[in-house]
Amino acid sequence: MNRTRAAVILVALAAAAALPHVAGPFWMGLVTQMYIFGLLALSADLLLGHAGLFSLCHASFFAVAAYTTAILQVRYGVPTALAAPAGIAAGTALAAVFGASVRTRGVYFILITLALGYVVWGVAHRWSSFTGGDNGVTNVPFPRIGAVGIESHTQYYYLVLAVIVLCAFGYRVLVRSPFGLGLRGIKASESRMRSLGYRTGLHLYAAFVLSGALASLAGVLYVYYNRFVNPVAGSFPVSVEAVLMAIIGGTGTVVGPFLGAAVILGLRNWVSSFFELYAAVMGIVFVATVLWAPNGIMGLAARLRAARAARG
């Protein structure tokens, strides 16, 4: 990592750490959401930016993890130390099942993950005796492990920030690892990878489960932030926005998904304050991104750097 990059990262971390002291609870809450949904977008991008698979069901893992943790804590009084890992495990287990979708490619994969995503939403919606239906699960407490517990939103902000930073570093190692390179090879030419000895199906499956685990972690972070979960958490718009966030920020990067989350959440917040058709505005953002900025913010930044370098 070169010096400029390290400096930028340090400044960003410092700013993130300082945020609760300079901005009010509203902004802190919004930025916490950006971290959480950025992580969800990151999980989707492991598949999109690196393996070339466009998954539309990541909200399912997010929601299943959130519901599992919520139900365990609220209904069965299970402490965080067990409820949180259980949430992650549940979401990951679902990813292990939905991972069968990697038997397909291209359009089929997109459509199948879209349909699978609906299963979870549908179950959350109709199995009201267990999931609470549209009312969801409420009164989720702040996380607490033994004597140490989160007591304020500010403390939770720092917890989320710490988790995100750890995830980002871990993710960076993952995508630079032999496994990560393998995924990019599959994206570039699956046929060549097979002829070189790679069991591409297995690689993609492993990536799918890993990405599901990451999405599940985001779900657990979400439910402790929101203190509440309902079927919307597992809905199609959440899945498709996660992918859009990755694209807007720049796929194939670590920072891109978080940038994208900041843009989407910030935009939605701003627009909905004065315009009621903000879903339409989101739709226009989708269209605009696809037509004019398919490489996202990081892509634009890269083009700027290249242009500057060319000028000398």
């Binding site: 390179l181 990019r184 030419s189 060549r192 002829s195 070189l196 790679y198």
Partner: protein, 248 residues
């Protein structure tokens, strides 16, 4: 008697109503250089696909060093020592030349599953990848994206990838296709200097290259073997000349 490197038994491949490969039996000895020639549409590439596992044959068998691999997945055959190049350059265009070779090296290596250490930490791997690039004259292109390489350079990379997947048998599908004479010479020179530890089967339209490099030649026409023999025998055979040159 040592077993054949490749043994194909009554292989057939049908597409709809068309029998692209129509009962081919051939045997390539270990260390041999075999050329597979025939006019366009003779079924050469389809035969290759069946041998490497890209396609499943409709009937017949394929053996690799005595082991039956007819229904085995392509990636498993590579693990057993099968390597190939593609007629149309099939390299990783979005990645650098070095990354291309790294992938080739890792294909038959357990370390491809490592998730917790960056590739940069494997110095030995990088060395071998650079060596692989040097062997085909692309060392100075190591950090360039393949997208930036010329067609000839991509053909060189194509060969390098196959060579670095640890092959015992190498199937070359028109390695000189679309190359200028000088590049052609370079590639055929590289092929000629490959160790006999690697068995070679080569599809090639350039008769000089094919007959120059081969120990034995198999001639395919309409999915069937019509002749097999030494380069001299094949060149002298009138039926071959009609079938092959009659189509030019």
């Amino acid at each position: 008697m040592t077993e054949a490197a490749i043994q194909v038994g009554a292989l057939a491949k049908e597409f709809g109503g068309l029998r692209a490969v129509d009962g081919v039996t051939l045997s390539v000895a270990a260390g041999e250089r075999r050329a597979l020639i025939g006019p366009n549409g003779a079924g050469k590439t389809t035969l290759f696909h069946c041998i490497t596992g890209t396609l499943r044959p409709s009937s017949g068998t394929v053996r690799l060093f005595g082991r039956e691999v007819t229904r085995l997945a392509e990636s498993r055959r590579t693990a057993l020592g099968m390597g190939r190049t593609f007629q149309i350059s099939n390299v990783f265009t979005d990645l650098t030349a070095l990354e291309n070779l790294t992938l080739a090296l890792l294909g038959t290596d357990r370390r491809k599953w490592i998730v917790h250490r960056p590739i940069g930490a494997f110095a030995h791997l990088r060395e071998r990848a650079l060596e692989g690039l040097e062997r085909v004259g692309l060392a100075d292109r190591a950090d360039r994206a393949v997208r930036e390489l010329s067609y000839g350079e991509r053909r060189q990379l194509e060969l390098a990838l196959a060579l670095n997947s640890n092959p015992r048998v190498l199937l070359l599908d028109e390695p000189c296709a679309g190359l200028a004479p000088l590049e052609r010479q370079r590639i055929s020179q590289m092929i000629a200097t490959l160790p006999r530890a690697i068995t070679l089967v080569m599809i090639e339209h350039d008769m000089d290259v094919a007959l120059g490099l081969a120990d034995r030649v198999t001639v395919l026409h309409r999915g069937r073997v019509i002749l097999e023999g030494t380069p001299a025998e094949v060149q002298a055979n009138p039926e071959v000349r009609e079938v092959y040159f009659g189509h030019v």
